[in-house]
């Protein structure tokens, strides 16, 4: 048995993030195993996006530790963490607006792929995200849903070991949402994913284990069925939606 089998892919311990008097993340302990697919849910302001930001170096946690395959990452810079193998699709699409779709994907591909392999790799990602027909368009001319795809495409193209998706289905049609769910299941065959989402139907399609955030803390962590049946979760978040 090697070390990698003993150490979880991601481990956050007693993670706290304060903004002045506001505690966005309060003593969060969170573990993700290799190849796991985890859904993060919780009402607005529960601290999900803040948690993602501390995982990717966009924020330095006030206290606590984060380890990626046993390597500490809290306090490291975003590009250092990205190079270690964590990729993120942020809540508000973060894309290169003035560049073409192809160039956006290429910028993600070229960090790992050899020059010869870059072209085919870009084409494969364009195909997977259904952007082939829009490859030469400037990203700013695309719809919100398509820009979501460009960003998802960039994350996939960089081939990270851990993929963080912050509301990947926001602004997508039902059909696009189904396609997103299919892609997530597909990439989960080879890498670990954490998904933040509000859409319960979407969660049901992909989820195995769900973690519920509430007021900066972990409220429940269990299988999707048990979480949806949990009275506390219904009270704070799902409310009438599930009861009805």
């Amino acid at each position: 048995m090697t070390m990698a089998d003993l150490v979880p892919l991601l481990k956050a311990e007693h993670l706290t993030m304060r903004f002045g008097g506001v505690v966005a993340n309060d003593d969060i302990t969170f573990t993700l195993e290799e190849m796991e697919l985890r859904c993060l849910i919780g009402p607005n302001g529960a601290g999900k996006s803040t948690f993602f930001k501390t995982l990717t170096g966009q924020l330095v946690p006030t206290s606590g530790a984060i380890a990626f395959r046993g390597q500490p990452i809290a306090g490291k810079l975003s590009h250092e963490i990205a190079r270690m193998g964590i990729g993120i699709k942020t809540q508000v699409p973060n894309v290169f607006n003035g560049l073409s779709v192809r160039e956006n994907i290429w910028l993600a591909v070229r960090r790992k792929a050899t020059p010869r392999a870059q072209g085919p790799a870009v084409d494969a990602v364009l195909e997977m995200t259904r952007l082939t027909d829009h490859a030469d368009r400037i990203v700013t001319t695309l719809s919100h849903g398509q820009r979501q795809w460009v960003e998802i495409g960039m994350v996939l193209a960089a081939e990270p070991e851990l993929i963080l998706l912050d509301e990947p289905a926001a602004g997508m049609t039902d059909e696009e949402t189904l396609h997103t769910a299919a892609i997530i299941r597909e990439i989960n065959k080879s890498r670990a994913i954490i998904v933040v989402e509000h859409d319960m139907e979407f969660i049901k399609q992909i989820a195995k284990k769900v973690t519920v955030f509430h007021q900066g803390r972990v409220l429940v962590e269990d299988t999707v069925d048990k979480v949806l049946a949990d009275q506390r979760v219904r009270d704070v978040y799902l409310g009438k939606k599930v009861a009805a």
């Binding site: 990717t56 170096g57 966009q58 810079l77 975003s78 590009h79 990205a82 190079r83 990729g87 993120i88 942020t90 973060n94 894309v95 290169f96 607006n97 003035g98 560049l99 073409s100 160039e103 290429w106 910028l107 993600a108 070229r110 960090r111 030469d136 368009r137 400037i138 001319t141 960003e151 960039m154 960089a158």
Partner: protein, 354 residues
């Protein structure tokens, strides 16, 4: 097909530019050629800001700091060595080193864009005041007397490399200056088509995304800043070669502002635009200077306001959009395809990016 056509077209334009540079001395009078030499030196300075501002997204108000450092580095070493060969190199290296140190603190200190403007502006003022207060015999570097406000007269001009006694004629100086302008232009064009240049543009577009993909924006911006400083320094050497003189007004704020006007008029985000803007504005300023009816600063201000209000994209992008529309309009009518509009917009943008 389209790519091959544009490559051929670009090659033709480059050959035409080379021919134009070659024949200008036999076509123009000495005075006009000297004036063009000055404009070409200034256009190299314009390119240095066009790159860092238009493609790096960094508005440096103090480009004249590097320009002036290049000018003084050239002048001081030319007086000492009596040979322009190492002096031109120093005029590139010293401003580049200065840009490296300044840029390190700015970019690695995570100073915001607004303060970057303030800092570069202030550094220019500091250099002006330092050099301005160097009158007196005690302020000398080797054989070179700095001369304070009066500057350094009779600076040796360019000579044939490694032959200090063979000074260049005005014609040869023009060829060197025009050639450097073309060379820097092509170098930047090449760079912007290579992965390194695309990464500079990506960081301009979205720094957060670039770093989340594993690019270090601080490093990218620092390298772009150093290159820009080196080009501005080279422009300083060309400028001193033109006038055989350097004084502290080379660090002046009005020149810093003028570069920004050149680029605004010519077109931000292009390389050709700033050259066009620079030559046009400098020509107008020189013309106004030769007669007494109008104040040149007043005219410059008016030109800037007119452009910002009426042609905010600048001359070159506006002309390009016009050409694109003329070329694509008949096709779009025939085909009646909605895709035409975004793809032509994309094409014009790509042209701008490269």
């Amino acid at each position: 097909m389209a790519v091959r056509f544009s490559l051929v077209a670009q090659a033709v334009v480059v050959v035409l530019a080379i021919v134009a540079i070659a024949v200008i001395p036999s076509v123009l009078e000495l005075f006009a050629m000297m004036q063009l030499t000055l404009f070409a030196a200034m256009a190299v300075l314009a390119l240095s800001l066009a790159f860092i501002w238009g493609f790096g997204g960094i508005l440096s108000f103090g480009q004249t700091a590097f320009f002036g450092l290049g000018g003084y580095a050239y002048a001081i070493s030319a007086v000492n060595f009596q040979d322009s060969t190492p002096s031109i190199l120093l005029a590139i290296i010293i401003p580049a080193l200065f840009a490296a140190i300044l840029g390190y603190f700015i970019f690695f200190g995570r100073i915001s864009d607004v303060y970057l403007g303030v800092i570069t502006l202030t550094v220019t003022l500091i250099l002006f005041n330092c050099v301005n207060s160097t009158s007196g015999d005690e302020y000398r570097i080797g054989k070179a007397l700095l001369g304070g406000f009066n500057g350094m007269p009779a600076v040796p001009t360019f000579n044939v490399p490694f032959y200090p006694d063979q000074a260049l004629s005005p014609e040869q100086s023009w060829w060197v200056t025009g050639g450097v302008l073309l060379g820097v232009f092509l170098l930047l064009r090449l760079l912007l088509s290579l992965p390194a240049g695309r990464i500079v543009v990506a960081v301009r577009e979205n720094e957060v995304r670039a770093s989340l993909l594993g690019y270090d924006p601080r490093k990218v911006k620092l390298l772009a800043f150093i290159l820009s400083g080196a080009i501005a320094g080279l422009a300083g050497a060309l400028y001193v070669n033109w006038g055989a003189f350097v004084g502290p007004t080379i660090f002046s704020l009005s020149l810093s502002a003028e570069i920004i006007i050149w680029i605004t008029v010519g077109g931000l985000g292009t390389l050709l635009g700033p050259i066009v803007g620079c030559v046009l504005i400098e020509y107008i300023v020189a013309y106004i200077g030769s007669q007494q009816a109008l104040n040149s600063n007043l005219v410059l201000g008016a030109v800037l306001i007119v452009f910002v209000l009426l042609l905010p994209k600048g001359l070159v992008p506006t002309a390009r959009d016009l050409v694109m529309r003329l070329v694509h309009a008949p096709k779009a009518k025939k085909q009646l395809v909605d895709e035409q509009v975004p793809s032509s917009a994309a094409a014009s943008h790509m042209a701008g990016a490269e």
